[in-house]
C-alpha cells in the first residue's frame, strides 16, 4: 500500500428497504461538504423520480467525496451506492466487490430484516469490513440497545460502540465518517501490475456513449489506452477517465489501483459492458479475469402490450431506450390473439418488473397491459428434446411431456413470532418445503423454505405482508429446477381461449386457481347484451365455469330538461370507454378488467 492509497476509502451502504440508506448517503455528502445544503436535492444519489418516490435505489452509482479527517489529513471517500433489493443481488455483490468496507444501516425501530441479513451475508462473502450504523434514533420507538444486541447475536459482528445516528435530522454523522476512515481498510493493489478493473455499473449517455463505472484493482488507466473487456474480448480506445462527484462527471488524468472512477470509450451499447466483467489493457493485459462474473439472467417474464394497439412502435422504442441502461431487461416481440402485438419481457424479479412497467408508463407516457408474471419452465419431451418455456401459452400438451421442471428458490423470511403460524400456513399452501426455523431473539424468527418461484410471483409478497401486518420481510435466491407436476390452465370467454389468460399451475392448484380466476373474470367483465360463459379448462376438460349475465340496464332515464349537451357528452364519454375495450372474440373487456384479473391478489388473505 502506498501513501496515496492510504488516503482512500471505498465503501458501500447496505440496508433493508426503508431503513434509511439513501438519507444517510445524503447526510454524508452534506456533512463532508461535498455538496452544500442549499444545492442538495433530497436523496441525491437516487436521481430517478421513481427511485425517490419508492425510496429505493435502482441503479448503483459512485460518488467521490473529499473529506478532511480530524487528524487534519485529507481523505478520498468513494461511496458506491447499491440497489437495495433482492432482485438486484448480483449487482449488489459486484458493487460490494469494488469496496473494502460497508456501512450496514439498521433501523433502530425495526431491527434486522430479511434484506439486512441477505446484504450483510453478501458483504461477508466479499470479505468486507462491516460497520453497523444504527439509524432513526430520533424516533420515540428507537431501541438502540436491542438492535445492537441483535446485530451481534444474529450477524455476529461487533456492534458495541458503532455509530447510532439519525440520518434524517443529521445527528452523529461525524461518527460515521470517523468510523469509515478508522474502521475500513485502505485499498491495496499494485499500480505496476497489468490492469484489472471491475465493472460494477454502466449507463448510456447520449453524448459520451456508455459510461462505465469501475474499481481499479491493479494497474493504471488513462485516456488513449486501448482496453479489452475480458468476457467478450471486445477492444476499445479510452476517450476519458474520471470520477463522479456530487455535481457530475469530473475528468482526470488517470485512474490508479485502488481508485473508483469511470471510463468512456465510445461504447455504443451497455450490453457490451456487463456488470462484473473485467477491464484490462489490450496489450500486456491481465491473464486471468476477476472472479465471479456471470450474466444476470431474467427469472420472471411477462407480456407487455400497448393498451392502444397503434402505439406498438412507441412501446418498442421505450423498451429499447430502457434497455440502453438496463442490460438485465430482455424483450422480444410476441403476438397474442387477445392483446395483439406486444413483447415478452424478462426481468430479474418482480420488483424489477414493476419498475420497468412503471417507467414505461411514466417516462414514455404509454398505457400498457401486462400479463401475469410467469417463470421459465424446463420441459423434457418424450422425444428426448429439452425446451424452456417463458410464455405459458407455449406450454406443450401433457402427452409430449416426459418430465416438467420448475425453478425453486431458497426463501428467507424474518417475522415477529406471533405471525409464524400464519406464514407457515402460507408457505405450506404455496407448496413450500420447510428447511429450518431460528429465533433471532425472543420476539423474532427467521424461517427458511424452499419455494417454487411460480408461487412467489403469484403475489406471495403481498400475502406475506398481509399475514404479518406488514412486519415480515422476505429474501430469496434461485435454488434449482425441480421436477413438478405442471398443467396448463386455459380460460375461455364465450367458447374462445384467451391466450393472455393462460397460466401454468401445479396440478393440485389447478382447481382452486381456476375457480378463483373465473370468479374474478365474472366480477370484472362488464355485462354485455348477451350472456357470456366463462370456462377454465385443462386441455379439453372444463374444470370451472361462471357466467356474466346479460346487461339489462344502461339508460339515462332522467330528462335533464333541455340540457341535450349533457346527454350527448355522457354518451360520448361512454363511447370513449368503448374504444379502449379489447375485443376478445365477441366479448369486449376493458384494459382495467384485464389487469384486475391478471393482478393476482390473494383474496383469501
Amino acid at each position: 500500500m502506498n501513501e496515496r492509497q492510504k488516503k482512500i476509502r471505498n465503501f458501500s451502504i447496505i440496508a433493508h428497504i426503508d431503513h434509511g440508506k439513501s438519507t444517510l448517503a445524503d447526510r454524508i455528502l452534506e456533512y463532508s461538504n461535498a455538496v452544500s445544503k442549499r444545492e442538495m436535492e433530497e436523496q441525491l444519489l437516487d436521481n430517478m423520480d421513481l427511485e425517490r418516490e419508492r425510496g429505493i435505489t435502482i441503479k448503483a452509482r459512485a460518488v467521490r467525496i473529499n473529506y478532511t479527517h480530524k487528524d487534519g489529513e485529507e481523505y478520498i471517500l468513494n461511496l458506491i451506492d447499491t440497489p437495495g433489493h433482492v432482485d438486484f443481488n448480483y449487482e449488489v455483490s459486484r458493487s460490494l466487490n469494488a469496496c473494502e468496507g460497508a456501512l450496514l444501516v439498521v433501523d433502530s425501530t425495526q431491527g434486522i430484516e430479511a434484506q439486512t441479513l441477505a446484504n450483510a451475508y453478501l458483504a461477508v462473502d466479499c470479505n468486507l469490513e462491516i460497520i453497523p450504523v444504527i439509524n432513526k434514533i430520533d424516533l420515540p420507538s428507537a431501541d438502540v440497545d436491542r438492535v445492537r444486541r441483535e446485530i451481534e447475536d444474529v450477524i455476529g459482528i461487533v456492534a458495541d460502540g458503532c455509530p447510532a445516528v439519525s440520518a434524517k435530522v443529521g445527528l452523529n454523522i461525524d461518527q460515521v465518517l470517523d468510523a469509515i476512515i478508522d474502521g475500513i481498510p485502505a485499498p491495496n493493489g499494485d499500480e505496476k501490475k497489468p490492469l484489472k478493473c471491475l465493472i460494477f455499473d454502466s449507463y448510456y449517455n447520449s453524448y459520451l456513449g456508455v459510461v462505465v463505472y469501475v474499481r481499479v484493482i491493479d494497474g493504471t488507466l488513462k485516456a488513449g489506452d486501448k482496453i479489452k473487456l475480458m468476457s467478450s474480448g471486445a477492444e476499445y480506445d479510452v476517450v476519458e477517465v474520471g470520477h463522479l462527484d456530487a455535481f457530475g462527471l469530473q475528468k482526470c488524468d488517470e485512474l490508479l489501483a485502488g481508485d473508483v472512477g469511470y471510463i468512456t470509450a465510445s461504447i455504443k451499447n451497455i450490453s457490451e459492458t456487463r456488470v462484473g466483467d473485467t477491464v484490462t489493457t489490450a496489450e500486456n493485459g491481465a491473464s486471468e479475469p476477476l472472479q465471479g462474473f456471470k450474466e444476470a439472467l431474467p427469472m420472471v417474464f411477462s407480456g407487455i402490450y400497448p393498451a392502444d394497439g397503434a402505439r406498438y412502435n412507441d412501446l418498442r422504442e421505450a423498451l429499447e431506450k430502457l434497455q440502453l441502461n438496463d442490460a438485465a431487461l430482455s424483450f422480444e416481440p410476441e403476438t397474442s390473439i387477445a392483446l395483439g402485438f406486444g413483447f415478452r419481457c424478462g426481468f430479474l424479479g418482480l420488483l424489477h418488473m414493476e419498475i420497468i412497467q412503471e417507467r414505461i408508463e411514466r417516462e414514455f407516457n404509454l398505457d400498457i397491459i401486462t400479463t401475469a408474471p410467469s417463470v421459465i419452465y424446463k420441459i423434457e419431451k418424450t422425444n428426448g428434446e429439452t425446451i424452456f418455456i417463458d410464455n405459458p401459452s407455449n406450454f406443450p400438451s401433457t402427452d409430449v411431456i416426459k418430465t416438467a421442471y420448475e425453478p425453486t428458490v431458497r426463501a428467507n423470511i424474518i417475522t415477529p413470532v406471533e405471525f409464524v403460524g400464519g406464514i407457515m400456513d402460507l408457505c405450506q399452501d404455496r407448496r413450500g418445503t420447510f428447511k429450518d426455523m431460528k429465533y433471532l431473539d425472543a420476539t423474532r424468527v427467521e424461517l427458511h423454505y424452499i419455494l417454487p418461484l411460480n408461487e412467489i410471483v403469484y403475489d406471495f409478497f403481498d400475502a406475506l405482508k398481509s399475514r404479518s401486518r406488514g412486519y415480515a420481510s422476505l429474501d430469496y435466491e434461485f435454488s434449482e429446477y425441480a421436477e413438478s407436476n405442471l398443467v396448463k390452465l386455459d380460460f375461455l370467454l364465450n367458447g374462445e381461449i384467451v391466450d393472455a389468460l393462460t397460466f401454468i399451475v401445479h396440478s393440485e392448484k389447478a382447481y382452486p386457481r381456476a375457480r378463483k380466476i373465473a370468479e374474478k373474470l365474472k366480477d370484472n367483465i362488464s355485462r354485455q347484451l348477451f350472456e357470456i360463459p366463462i370456462q377454465a379448462a385443462i386441455g379439453s376438460k372444463v374444470i370451472a365455469r361462471e357466467t356474466v349475465k346479460a346487461l339489462r340496464k344502461d339508460v339515462l332515464a332522467k330528462c335533464y330538461g333541455g340540457d341535450i349537451t349533457r346527454k350527448k357528452k355522457l354518451l360520448e364519454k361512454q363511447k370513449e370507454g368503448k374504444k379502449k375495450m379489447r375485443r376478445l372474440g365477441s366479448v369486449e373487456v376493458t384494459p382495467e378488467a384485464f389487469m384486475a384479473v391478471l393482478k393476482l391478489d390473494d383474496s383469501e388473505k
Binding site: 339489462r552 339508460v555 340540457d563 341535450i564 354518451l571 368503448k578
Partner: protein, 381 residues
C-alpha cells in the same frame, strides 16, 4: 310564424332534495324571489325583439320549485311574459309544483294567469321514502294538493314518481305506481334514480343499498306493462300519457325543435345553436342589473356539423316510442339510417331495436340498455 318553446327556470326551493343536481338555491325569502322576477322582466324586455317573428306555443316554468312563487310574483311574471312575447292562445303552459308549496289561492292565481298544465312531484307513496329523498311533503300533502288542483279545474296534470330508491323493493315501487294510476292523472313521468355527483346522495347512499340491475329492469318492465294496461301510452323512455296528453314542451327537446330559456343554468336551442346560462343566480342577476347582455352565456355548440346533427337527431328521436321515421331521416340527411349507422342492424337482430311501419324504435328491453346501444352506433367521427 316560427313556433318556439319558452322555458323559465325558477332556481329556488324551500329545501333541496337529496338527489337533485339541478341548479337551485334553498330560499325562504320572498324578497330574493321578487328581485329575480324583476331581473327576468328586464331581460325579457331587452331581448324581446329577438323573438318578434316567433310565437311561443309552449311555456314551461321549471325549477327549482316554481310553485314557491307568491301569487303576486306569479302575476308579475306572467304579465312580463305576455308583455314581451307572443304567446299562442292555445299554448301549453306548464308549471312544476311541489305539494308542500301549494294552496287554494295560489292555484286560483295560476289558473287565472293561464297555466293549464300542472306537474306535481309526488316521487313516492311512502312517507319514509319521501323523507329519505329529502322531500318537504308527505303523501297527505300530495293528496290534498291533487284534489285541490282538480277542483280548481286543472284537467291536465302530470305526476312525477321515482324508482330504484335505496332499499326499495319492487313491491314498494309498484304500490306507488298503483296509487298514481288510481289518481288517474293525464300524464305520468317515472324516473329511475340516478346518484349524481354534488348531491347529498352521492355521499350518503351506499350503492349496495340500491336495487340491483335485474330488479331495476323488472321495475321498469312491470311499470311499462301496468301503465299500458291502465290506458297510458308510453311515448318516451320515462314518460307516459293518456291519449293526446303528451307534454308538448318536452316533445320539443326530443324532436330537436327550438326552445328559448331564461334563468341561471337554463339551456336553449335557438337558430341552430345550443347555449346555456352559467348556473349562478348572483352573476345572472347582477349582469342584468349592470345592463350587460348577453350575460354569462356558455356556448355549447355553435354551428354543429352535419354528422353531429345527425347523431343528435338519432339520440333524441330514439328516446321517443315513435322512433325514427326512416323516410324522414333520408329526406333530412340524404342518407338512409342503415347506411349512416350500419351497426344498428345487429340490434334489430337481437330484438333491442324494432323496425315496423317504416320506423325504427327501441323495444322495452332496448330502451333500458339504450345508452349502451347509442354509444355503440353513434359518434363515429
Amino acid at each position: 310564424m316560427r313556433a318556439l318553446g319558452l322555458y323559465i327556470h325558477i332556481p329556488f326551493c324551500k329545501r333541496k332534495c337529496n338527489y337533485c343536481d339541478f341548479y337551485s338555491l334553498s330560499c325562504t325569502q320572498g324578497a330574493q324571489i321578487s328581485e329575480y322576477i324583476n331581473s327576468l322582466s328586464v331581460q325579457f324586455k331587452t331581448q324581446s325583439h329577438l323573438f318578434s317573428d316567433c310565437v311561443f306555443d309552449t311555456v314551461f316554468l321549471g325549477g327549482g320549485t316554481p310553485s314557491l312563487l307568491s301569487p303576486n310574483d306569479i302575476l308579475r311574471l306572467f304579465s312580463a311574459i305576455r308583455e314581451n312575447f307572443n304567446i299562442d292562445d292555445n299554448a301549453e303552459i306548464s308549471i312544476e309544483a311541489n305539494p308542500g308549496t301549494l294552496n287554494k289561492e295560489k292555484l286560483t292565481t295560476l289558473r287565472d294567469a293561464g297555466v293549464n298544465r300542472m306537474s306535481i312531484g309526488l316521487q313516492s307513496y311512502f312517507d319514509s321514502e319521501l323523507e329519505l329523498l329529502g322531500r318537504i311533503h308527505t303523501l297527505s300533502d300530495f293528496e290534498r294538493t291533487f284534489s285541490l288542483a282538480r277542483s280548481e279545474g286543472f284537467d291536465n296534470i302530470n305526476i312525477d314518481i321515482m324508482y330504484a330508491l335505496p332499499n326499495q323493493k319492487k313491491a314498494d315501487f309498484l304500490k306507488t305506481l298503483d296509487y298514481v294510476v288510481e289518481k288517474s292523472p293525464e300524464h305520468i313521468s317515472s324516473y329511475c334514480l340516478k346518484i349524481e355527483k354534488n348531491t347529498p346522495f352521492f355521499k350518503t347512499v351506499n350503492p349496495v343499498s340500491l336495487p340491483n340491475e335485474d330488479t331495476q329492469y323488472e321495475m321498469y318492465i312491470d311499470m311499462c306493462d301496468i301503465l299500458s294496461k291502465s290506458g297510458y301510452e308510453q311515448y318516451e323512455i320515462s314518460n307516459f300519457s293518456k291519449m293526446g296528453k303528451r307534454c308538448k314542451h318536452n316533445m320539443k327537446y326530443w324532436l330537436s325543435q327550438e326552445y328559448v330559456s331564461f334563468g341561471p343554468g337554463a339551456h336553449s336551442y335557438f337558430n341552430g345553436e345550443r347555449y346555456s346560462y352559467s348556473p349562478n343566480l348572483h352573476d345572472y342577476v347582477s349582469a342584468i342589473k349592470d345592463g350587460k347582455l348577453p350575460y354569462a352565456i356558455i356556448q355549447e355548440s355553435a354551428d354543429i356539423g352535419e354528422n353531429e346533427k345527425r347523431d343528435e337527431y338519432v339520440m333524441l328521436k330514439l328516446r321517443l316510442c315513435d322512433g325514427i321515421c326512416e323516410a324522414d331521416f333520408k329526406n333530412l340527411f340524404g342518407i338512409s339510417v342503415a347506411e349512416a349507422y350500419p351497426d344498428i342492424e345487429k340490434y334489430i337482430k337481437s330484438g333491442h331495436v324494432l323496425r315496423y311501419n317504416g320506423a325504427l324504435r327501441f323495444s322495452s328491453k332496448g330502451f333500458f340498455v339504450s345508452n349502451y346501444i347509442l354509444s355503440d352506433i353513434l359518434f363515429n367521427n
